[in-house]
Symmetry: D3
Subunit: 237 residues, 6 copies
């Protein structure tokens, strides 16, 4: 379970910084390749993963009537994804048919979920783009999901954007994309990423003011360290 | 020939809804994969397809001088595409060279055509992006079309975005992309998509207000049906 | 060395027009395939190429500690790229890890460089998107460059977006993408593209006013020539 | 459960013929895209699917030590795949690391399984190519599976080569590739494919002897029908 | 019309040598990217192109019944492709469904055609691989062509493997692939490629015997020229 | 410098085994993705890398005349690649034009080099396929290299098949593909891979004889260890 403090920190750091913190721990493949934000003005995405797994569709099984069944995993998942959780869909990287559409996205939002991510495409994206709720996908995809996708499992480990996503892993998204933090290190990653962000903000300010990179980025010079600590104190961070 | 009423309806429904209506008729591959709108503020795209077919260029044939010939299919097509029609280009999915540029797009617009679609890329897209006229392509492409494309045929059946497009098929585009409706069912698809949109708007409003999916989407509960009919009456739709 | 006059002309012509001028000289592959502008409100990109070459990373070599070394090519290149030059990165078309990030981009900007181009992806793109300085890449990429890229060479001939880029070649970017002009013909290309732009502006205006393409685009009719010369005189161009 | 008679028939018909029989039933996507036979001299592949599902690997989980655990799905699956069954692996179409290698393939063979299929790649393929046991994959892949694959599930529905494979579906492979027949129609598909093969053999013989296609392929002329029946009788088929 | 002498020469030179001869004439894109030989023991492929154009299939049009129609372009083309001609299929580079199968290939062979080429895939390839008749494709494809391909035109200009193929262009295939020689230069290309082959055979023999490349390949040294002429005379070539 | 003993060991182990040994050292990306052997009957490939770097071609620079220049890197490299070394070409993964052809391959062979590897394609592959000398590439490619490749550097670090290759790294190839061993660990990798191969041969024999995987692969049971040591002694390995 992510503490509120960690969640708050993760909402203030970039996915770029998080990948560096994960890289220090030997994790090189946690950024989802492909998914980009549909609605850039939405708040940051932070929350534990709740997953939906698709396999390819088959014409005799994947017919419109399946949606009348309350146990259909796509619909059931939308109704059961916990508040605060991120709905993460393994679409096998296939955006030829929709992973879901505006109505289901709205339902997830109203149920208090934290966001939605697919390595395929969502439909009704012109409407989703106006929502105040973070959604990530590869590209818009109008065709109904039944054409290429069969919902088969809920909340099992999946692949999404080439990354292993285990239920409960912490998904964080910003304007650059989505990173998956293994659950058991989410707290420490939040803390370290937050600290690193303070230093990067200092560096950014220095460089924007004309400073060179050497000794500053990364920090090597002891004098730099002094200046940073003074800056941090002054900023109250 | 599309009636004005059908055209009007198609301008109010989404490509997502249309793909579902087509799916009910066994048509699973009518949404063009790849093309996205260049100018998001342009009006909706609706109109019959008028097609241009490209094959790969050959250096000795595809030289600048060809454009002096009034029978060159690209230029001829731009001058002959009927008012109200959509100029659809089979670029073999290749955006390495332009399918056409700003001047030809302007000419199509001024001649009263309804829009342009390519599964390659257009050039002069910064200017096209400002136009009030719908243009769809895969990505911007500055190089002159002669480098990779040879215009060879006008108004023959083509592939575009992996979809069969026959002259006269009705192309509909929104912020999500472009769908091709076979000409002989365009009227009935327009009617059904319009009806389905009324229901989806109702569902969207209900879900946005906190309703769950089961029984509502799809409509199963008779009570839901009652509520919908009352809502529709109240809305005058 | 590009003259100020040529630079000024190149800042006023489109990459599309430049590719046509290059095509007349038998150069068919000078537009970078893939890179698009990160910050559409930035000024136009014009300047000679200063290059960085990446090869794939290796886990034992590409560790965070390398950045402490002042001779590390990525950092050294950012500090040595001349004012007015464009930092062009051969990322082997691989956007899975960043080519560089916001701090380095800021440093290049503050050092007076003219812009940055990669056929991979940059990180910190939400911040870069707000900068007033032109940056081109394929897609956002949060992961630190060490995961997939090893910086190996500075200012050698490279490939970028499938195009040969020699140090000193003139890179020009607009809202459509980036074109590479071989250094030895940059002056004449600037002049010819500028002239061609005047004519295209005339054509665009004519076509926007209702004129047809034949005889006008390309110019064949002598009467058209007369009208053009009059128009140009009137416009003072 | 496939009857011995049906199994025998499926071993005598081509995957091409089976796809036509499936197409008549509205099933258009049952041929695995990508997998090709490793050992062309092996016997035909026929048997029910037993599946293994991979997701992307994660560095801290997928270490060599996992193979010491008897419940590790890859090893457990190899020991539990029933005699007569086909070991089908969902490698997410990723051949960058091996799906399995020669020792596991040997174990499956010795345990009496019917064959192995992956939409990734196997390792030790020079040895596998010499075996008398049918194995299909996309391309050889030396790297150990832990680098990119994490075995997560046994005998659940999967995607393989873009096709839905449910446990128990009948996999049939020949020199062209692998087709998946839904379990509930396997008997009737076997019968119809066998019958169709008799006719196609007749057609092939006729065409090889100089006959034209019209009236013969497909059979329309009644006279052709007569000749076919006589031929069939003579051949005792 | 290709003379018998030219045809004979083309059957003795490699596609590699032909691409060099075409490159000297400014033709850089005549080698089909993708198609490889199905039956390596078949004789060389030489002959004028007779083309079939596919577009994507549509479910309501592309049904098995279409083959009963004698005007169906695929079947009509197989019956009308002239003796000596090469049946070249534009499959839009899509091998997911077959371009044609063993029976049609047999018919083309028995009708005296020179070979078949597709930038998709053929079915019944285990049988085709045994034929003494040259067939080229991208990879085996069992599914019936109706699933993804609609035959629409015969003997029009097409793209195949990214190359423009005009009816009558001379197709030449060897163990490396297929090259398309524009009809109007086929004679001169045959002659020049034949001459160049003589020299390359000389070079190959020299290098195999220990000679270095400089001065020899390309021929610069006058002494080399002398030796070559003597060798040629001795060989009677 | 690789010792003769290590070289001898590497010629007896598989690339699969080597990737496992490298994986134990944290090196996950040393197997070249794409290149496959052209001539399966050639001896094993073992030797230090000597590299050639290509960038994209430019029409005005890459003309046939360049080959008359003795300093042209492609030709110079072929004449200077040391005996025993492997000629490794960075073709940017682009097989649209040849990396080199039969004459240059012959020259390398006759000069005593150990083999050739490209992540593009070679030409004259029907002849190369008959040679007794190991060559690896992605697919045959007839077009002359000048069409897409410009040779720019010799013996610098390159990427090949997505792998970093430094001059002097040890390349090992078998029927599965090519692995690159960093020079400084080549000796220890050779030793460990050789040892591991002995055990794998034992396991393979056991499994082929009916043994199960557990306890054996990997070796956990002490009894297994006993049996292995006895087997090894008996085999004299």
């Amino acid at each position: 379970m992510l503490t509120a403090a960690a969640r708050d920190k993760l909402a203030q750091v970039s996915t770029a910084t998080i990948t560096t913190v994960l890289f220090k721990r030997g994790l090189r493949n946690q950024f989802l390749q492909g998914p980009q934000v549909v609605n850039p003005r939405a708040p940051r995405l932070v929350g534990p993963a709740y997953t939906l797994r698709y396999i390819p569709a088959r014409e005799d099984i994947d017919v419109l009537k399946v949606f009348e069944d309350r146990s259909h995993p796509q619909r059931k998942g939308v109704e059961e994804c916990p508040a605060g959780a991120v709905f993460v869909v393994d679409s096998r990287g296939d955006p030829r048919a929709a992973s879901a559409g505006g109505i289901l996205i709205t339902r997830l939002m109203r149920r208090g979920c934290a966001g939605a991510v697919s390595d395929g495409g969502f439909r009704d994206t012109p409407e989703i783009a106006q929502m105040d709720w973070p959604v990530y996908h590869v590209r818009p995809s109008a065709p109904t999901n039944l054409i290429h996708h069969h919902a088969v499992d809920l909340n099992v480990p999946i692949g999404c954007g080439g990354v292993a996503v285990y239920p409960g892993d912490i998904m964080v998204g910003d304007g650059e994309g989505v990173v998956c933090i293994p659950a058991h290190i989410a707290e420490e990653v939040a803390t370290e990423a937050f600290e690193q962000t303070v230093y990067e903000d200092f560096v950014q300010e220095q460089v924007d003011g004309g400073a060179g990179l050497f000794g500053l980025y990364p920090m090597i010079d002891p004098a730099t360290r002094e200046r940073f600590l003074a800056w941090r104190k002054a900023k109250g961070r």
